[in-house]
């Protein structure tokens, strides 16, 4: 037997919608996390509720992970299609676990040194648990057996996941898992070179998805209102908050459409509640008009735009970063907006906290741009990186009751100031009688859509907020050596794949660097210019077909990228993909 690799592998579960690929995978990942390992999961789902072919993929290691990788070491295939479609992704020496009852030709699997691990999973499920649906529990047990993970971690997660279905169900599943574990360990473990061993961890860890981190960040930031309309991949943000709404006093409203979603949030924000909405590009399209309303009436509202491949309905369950230029310029006329694109689970959390602060400080819409890849990825993170004492709530120039009471003269909602920020009062106070207005207006808020001078003053005041905000806009993260040969320019959710690609290149002796942007608008041009001077070859890495960030960079700095590594087939970028394209470009150059 080959020498074994400990704690560095990828496991893929694959099968039909409804077979528990998702829940099983998440449970297994959690078990690994509990074993003290670092985990990164991704998944791919079809736009259907039952049937088809989905996968959930777990990468696991001894060190923190930022991305998935493409090669699979162990495939758990629940259907024949899962075997035939995905056996090719398994590396030589890797294995495919499947039920003996499936019509699978072993030679098909065993190509290129891949090992077939047929097992009587359904039989085990029926004999031990009485139920063929438990087959996937048997498979999970088997997977743990092959990699020789101590069974206790699987046991614990089964207890936890099935508890609410009653002791009997939990007990039966436990037995099934154990039988699968034993069978696999006995028959196949010896020949399988990848092993997983528990590690002691001193610093507590959490496992969460991008959308959960967004929801958690919103709650931490004091979000009290979310109105939204379901749309993949954003729906689970509202759903996660809804599950916590009663307890954490957040009003959660599914609306009739996205127009109502954003306008309700604007209404709540006008009254003083921290309010948000979440959608994908199609829904955002319907929010465009109201985005301008928030810009004109100076209402703080946070909009999460979770991208998926367009145009139009596109590929509803796949991923893309195709909406950057759209959200930057959406809605008629010119007004300040802030656009943030978090790159990690931690950044999802902290970006939401910042988004609510920035929205209230600059009294404008803040767009948090994420995507399907981020929405569904799960990662182990350090609990200390979610330190609530570091969460600061900054409501900006919000007038207190006392300030209002001491105010002389009438309250001017849209007072012209040097910073562009007009102190904000919330309705309900006798002094806070004012009009918010979508028409051009005077300082009180009355319609003033004729006067040229007032217009220039008001429009300039609003736009000045962007200049003021620039002071707290963060420069891109620089990752990698000084004096690079190549700089990968990237933004948002590609953080992990690019970072890992940079690590690999540096380990191969290529001085590669990453510039990663979370804060995109207002564009931190002064911070960027010096970084471009010593970039070496500048390569944009984006999950879209045209290089939208590269377009923006050139518009803002004049600098054209030397090359583009793009992907628009609905799949996320990965370190492997980036390196492959980088190599290709090198050959062609």
């Amino acid at each position: 037997m080959a020498e074994s690799t400990v704690n560095n592998m990828t496991i893929r579960l694959a099968g039909e919608a409804g077979q528990g690929v998702d829940t099983g995978g998440a449970g297994f990942a959690k078990a690994l996390a509990n074993a003290g390992l670092w985990v990164f999961t991704t998944s791919e789902f079809m736009s259907r509720i039952r049937g088809g072919l989905n996968f959930y993929q777990i990468r696991v290691a001894d060190h923190p992970l930022y991305s998935h990788v493409e090669p699979v070491n162990l495939l758990l295939a629940f259907t024949e299609e899962a075997v035939s479609e995905y056996a090719g992704t398994v590396v030589p020496g890797g294995g495919v676990i499947y039920d003996q009852g499936l019509k699978v030709r072993e030679e098909m699997v065993a190509r290129n040194g891949v090992q077939a691990f047929p097992m009587p999973l359904v039989k085990i499920a029926q004999e031990v648990g009485g139920n063929r649906i438990m087959m996937n529990t048997a498979a999970l047990g088997a997977a743990a057996g092959v990699v020789e993970l101590p069974f206790e971690f699987i046991a614990e997660i089964i207890q936890r996941n099935f508890r609410r279905k009653g002791d009997a169900v939990a007990e039966a599943n436990l037995k099934v898992a154990e039988a699968g574990y034993r069978y696999a360990r006995e028959h196949y473990a010896a020949g399988f070179p990848w092993k997983l061993q528990p590690r002691k961890t001193s610093r507590p860890r959490l496992m969460m998805t991008g959308n959960q981190a967004i929801g958690l960040g919103a709650l931490a930031a004091g979000c009290r209102f979310i109105s939204a309309y379901p749309m993949t991949p954003a729906s689970s943000i509202m759903e996660w908050i809804a599950a916590h709404g009663a307890r954490y006093k957040v009003v959660v409203k599914q609306t009739e459409d996205e127009i109502a979603a954003i306008t309700m949030a604007i209404g709540a924000a006008f009254m003083g509640a921290r309010a948000m909405t979440a959608t994908s590009g199609g829904g955002f399209s319907l929010m465009v008009e109201a985005l301008g309303l928030a810009g004109m009436a100076e209402i703080p509202v946070v909009v999460v735009e979770s991208q998926r491949p367009g145009p139009s309905t596109g590929m509803p369950t796949k991923t893309e970063q195709g909406d950057l230029l759209f959200v930057l310029h959406a809605s008629q006329g010119e007004f300040p907006r802030i656009v943030l694109a978090p790159g990690t689970i931690e950044q999802c959390f902290w970006t939401m906290v910042r988004a609510f602060n920035l929205a209230e400080k600059y009294q404008c819409p803040v767009i948090v741009l994420t995507d399907n890849y981020m929405a569904f990825q799960a990662r182990t993170v350090l609990r200390q990186d979610f330190d609530y004492t570091k969460v600061e709530i900054d409501r900006g120039a919000l007038l207190t009751k006392e300030e209002l009471e001491q105010m002389e003269g009438p309250y001017l909602r849209y007072k012209i100031t040097e910073s562009g920020i007009s102190p904000r009062a919330l309705p309900g106070h006798p002094k806070a009688v004012f009009q918010a207005c979508s028409d051009e207006h005077d300082e009180y808020g009355h319609f003033e859509d004729e006067d040229a001078e007032n217009r220039v003053k008001m429009q300039s005041k609003r736009m000045r907020k962007l200049r003021t905000a620039l002071a707290e806009i963060r420069p891109p993260e620089v990752y990698g050596p000084e004096d690079p040969e190549v700089t990968f320019l990237t933004w948002g959710t590609t953080y992990g794949p690019v970072r890992e690609a940079v690590d690999i290149l540096n380990s191969q002796g290529v001085r590669a660097r990453m510039l990663h942007f979370v804060d995109i608008w207002p564009f931190p041009v002064d911070a960027v210019l010096p970084l471009l001077e010593r970039s070496g070859r500048l390569v944009a890495v984006e999950n879209n077909g045209t290089g939208q960030f590269a377009h923006l960079l050139r518009a803002m700095t004049g600098r054209e990228v030397d090359d583009r590594i793009l992907r628009f087939d609905g799949r996320p970028l990965s370190p492997d993909y980036i390196l492959r394209k980088f190599e290709e470009a090198r050959i062609h150059a």
Binding site: L206, A220, S227, V250, A260, I266, A269, L293, P430, C437
Partner: protein, 288 residues
């Protein structure tokens, strides 16, 4: 009874002389004064149109939103701070045209909001195109051969959709209208006051005279607003006689905001922003 003057504003209305919107403005002020609601205790949400400029001519908390969207903005506001009185004032285009979906959905939500529709059966501010409530055959700039749609019946729609208070007023009778608006505000739940509002420039059919000859008051004929089916039928009466008054009213239905779990402990806006550190740790534990 407050002095209506407290709602006065230095801004002079830009409405045409004789416009029906003046009567509505006066009725809104009178109703608020009568109910002793101070300018900061009520927020008026409007869309865009002639009629939607109304709060610009008052001293009152207001938000002139975008065309067609005052209802959802107001609903969000009500949910954030149920203690405020919330009025929506909007045109027939705002409400039954571009915003009709929000209207329909509000009916079944029943937030404690009063919707006052300035129903002039035409698009005033954009210079006289036909509206959803324009009568079939109406000749306008976009229907030179006459409108071919059957007019939308707002009252019948509201009753069917689940509204708990449905009324019609006439801006030529501001006193009666003020009473209706006051009743609507007092009503716990969603209330519609559709107002027959002459547009003296673009609607040469439904004029003051047209209405004066036809309107009669339901309450003067002993109308029982508790009967939903009868109200629906009554809502179809449109001819030589046009009823105004309260068509339908049912009390005691729970309001939208009363049923939202997160609001059990009061308005969102009066609570501290952010989480209790322990509550946050409890949340984190879900991911451990």
């Amino acid at each position: 009874m407050l002095d209506v003057k407290i709602y006065n504003s230095p801004v002079k209305p830009t409405w045409c002389p004789g416009c029906g919107d003046y009567g509505i403005l006066n009725a809104v002020k009178a109703a608020l004064a009568q109910l002793e609601i101070l300018p900061h205790e009520v927020a008026i949400f409007t869309g865009i149109g002639c009629g939607s400029k109304l709060p610009d001519y008052m001293t009152v908390t207001a938000f002139t939103t975008i065309h067609g969207r005052p209802i959802p903005v107001a609903t969000g506001a009500k949910l954030a701070n149920p203690k405020m009185h919330i009025l929506v004032v909007a045109g027939d285009g705002d409400t039954y045209g571009i915003g009709a979906n929000h209207f329909i959905q509000a009916l079944r939500r029943n937030p404690d909001i009063t919707l006052i529709v300035e129903n002039n059966m035409v698009y005033g501010l954009t210079k006289g195109q036909y509206a959803p409530t324009s009568q079939k055959g109406m000749v306008t700039s976009t229907t030179p051969e006459g409108a071919i749609e059957v007019a939308l019946n707002p009252l019948a729609m509201a009753i069917t959709g689940g509204a708990t208070f449905v009324a019609r007023g006439f801006s030529g009778d501001p006193k009666h209208l003020a009473w209706l608006i006051a009743e609507a505000i007092k009503h716990k739940g969603f209330s519609l006051v559709d107002v027959l509002q002459p547009c003296v420039v673009y609607n040469k059919v439904q004029t003051y005279d047209f209405y004066r000859e036809r309107v009669y008051k339901l309450e003067e004929e002993g109308w029982d607003p508790a009967d939903r089916k009868a109200a629906w039928e009554k809502a179809h009466e449109w001819g030589d006689r046009i009823p105004i008054g309260i068509f339908y009213r049912v009390e005691g239905e729970p309001t939208y905001e009363d049923q939202v779990p997160a609001l059990r402990e009061g308005a969102l806006t009066t609570q501290p922003v952010g989480l209790d550190p322990q509550a946050f740790e409890a949340l984190l534990n879900e991911f451990a």
